[in-house]
Amino acid sequence: MTPGPVGDLDVDTVDLFDLDLYEHGDPHTIWDVLRAKAPLHHQVLPDGRQFWSVTRYEDVCRVLGDHREFTSERGTVPTHLGTDDPAGGKLLTSTDPPRHTRVRRAIGAKLTARAVAPWAETIRRTVVDFLGPALDGEVFDLADRALLLPAMVTGPLLGIPERDWQELVELTAMVTAPADPHFRHGSEAATLAIAHHELITYVTEWVRRRRSVGGDDGSLLDHLMHLRVDDAGLTDEEIALDGYSILLGANVTTPHTVSGTVEALIERPEQFTRALADPSLIPNLVEEGLRWTSAACNFMRYAVDDVQIGGGTVPARGAVVAWIGSANRDELQFPDPHVFDIDRVGAKRQVAFGFGPHFCVGAPLARMTLRIFFEEMLRRFGSIESAGAAQHLRSYFIAGMTHLPVVARKRPAS
C-alpha cells in the first residue's frame, strides 16, 4: 500500500482508533503526516479516555525500550486503554525489569535460535502440507488458511493437540480483533472477556490434566510449569497467564506477515522473479516482509513521570501508544520507506518484533518459520496472482488480512 496524496490533513482531528481506517483505508497516509508534523500526537476519545502517540522510529524504540520512563505494568495493549491490567506484575508482557528479565530468560531458553533449530524439518513438512492445496488450480484464500498455520507449526511444540487448534485460533483472533465481524461476539468488551477467559481456562485445565497424569513431553507449556526463577516456580496464575500470552503471540501475527508479504510479491512480479531466481535473498525477503507488514501494529506503555518526547510532554500516568507500523516506514531509518524491496539494505533494523526488554520471545521461531515458508513456496510456485479483493482486519492493534484469494501455478521442473 503506497500512500496517496494527503493534502492538508488536520492533525488535531486525526482519529488513530478509527477502525474503518484500518479495515478500508490506509493508516500510512496518516502516520506519514504525524511523523513529519506531530511526532507526539494527543487524542481524546469520545468517552473521555486519552492517549499520546509516537510514530517516529527513534521515539517508538525509546517508549518500548525504557521501562524506567514507560512502564508495562499497567498494560501494553491499546484495546484495554484506561483499564489497568489486572495481570500487571504477573503476566510477563505486563511486567517490568528486574522481575521481567529473570522470567523472560527462563522462558526464552526454550526459544532461542539454537533451541528451535531442531524443529526445522517438522516445520518444513507442515509448510509443505499447508502449501499443497494452493497448487490444485483452484482459488486459494491464503489469508484465511494462514490463520491456522501457526497452530500447525507451534501446536506440537507447545503441547497442544490438533483437535484444539481451530478453537484456539478463533479465540486468539477474538483477542486481537474484537471488533471484526469475523470474530465478534456481542460487544467488543464481551468478545475480549470471553476470549481471555476461555484461553486462560484452557491453559489452567491443561496444567491440571498434566499434573494428574504426570510426565513431561518437553513442550513449552511443560517448560512453563517446571522452570525456576529465583529458586521458585511460577505460580499457577503466572503459568496460566504466560501460557495464554504464548498462545496469543504464536497465533496472531505470523499469518498476517505471511499474507502481507505474499501480497507484496503478487503486486511486484519482478520482486517475485528475483526471489525465485536467487533463494539466498529469502532471509532478507523475510526481514523486508516483517518491516512491510508490521503485524503487531503498536504496543502501549504508561509514562511513569512527566516525560519529554517527540517535541512535547506526556504527563505522568499518561498512556503512550508506540506505532510500530509507522516506525517501520520512517524515512530517516528506511530510505524510500514505501518501496517494498527484497534487496533493501538495513531491512533487519525493522522493529516488527518490538524493541528492548519485551522484544518478541518467539522471534527466532517466527523468523525460521517464515524463512522455511518462503523457501518452500518459491520452490513450488512458478507464479502467483490475485484472484479477488483482499479484506483487511478490522483492528487498530493487529495489521492483517482476513481474506486474500490467490491462484498459484506450479513451478516447472527445471
Binding site: 464481551a190 484452557y202 485445565e205
Partner: protein, 96 residues
Amino acid sequence: MESSPRTDHQNGGGGAAVARPVPKAQAIADLWSEYLGAEARENDDFFALGGTSLAGIKIIDRLADEYGVRLSVRAFYLAQTPARVADLIAQGRAGR
C-alpha cells in the same frame, strides 16, 4: 478426550442434591461487588463496572459453588447484568 484439556462449556446442573439458594439478582450483584471493587446493582453492566476476565473467572466459580450451576463463559459475558445472570442460573436449574 485423552490429552485434551477441553472443558465443557455448556450450562449444566451441579448435580448435588443439596438445598441451593434461589438465584436473586441482588444477591448476584453483591457477589460481583466483591470482585469488581465497585458497587454493582441488578441491571448494571459488567464491563461498565470495570469487569475483567480475571474477575469473571472467579465469579463464575463462585456462582457454580453457590447455585450449583456452572454457566458457560459465553453466556455469562453476553448476559452482562446480574439480573440476566440470575435468569441464566434459573434456566440452568430447569435443565435447559
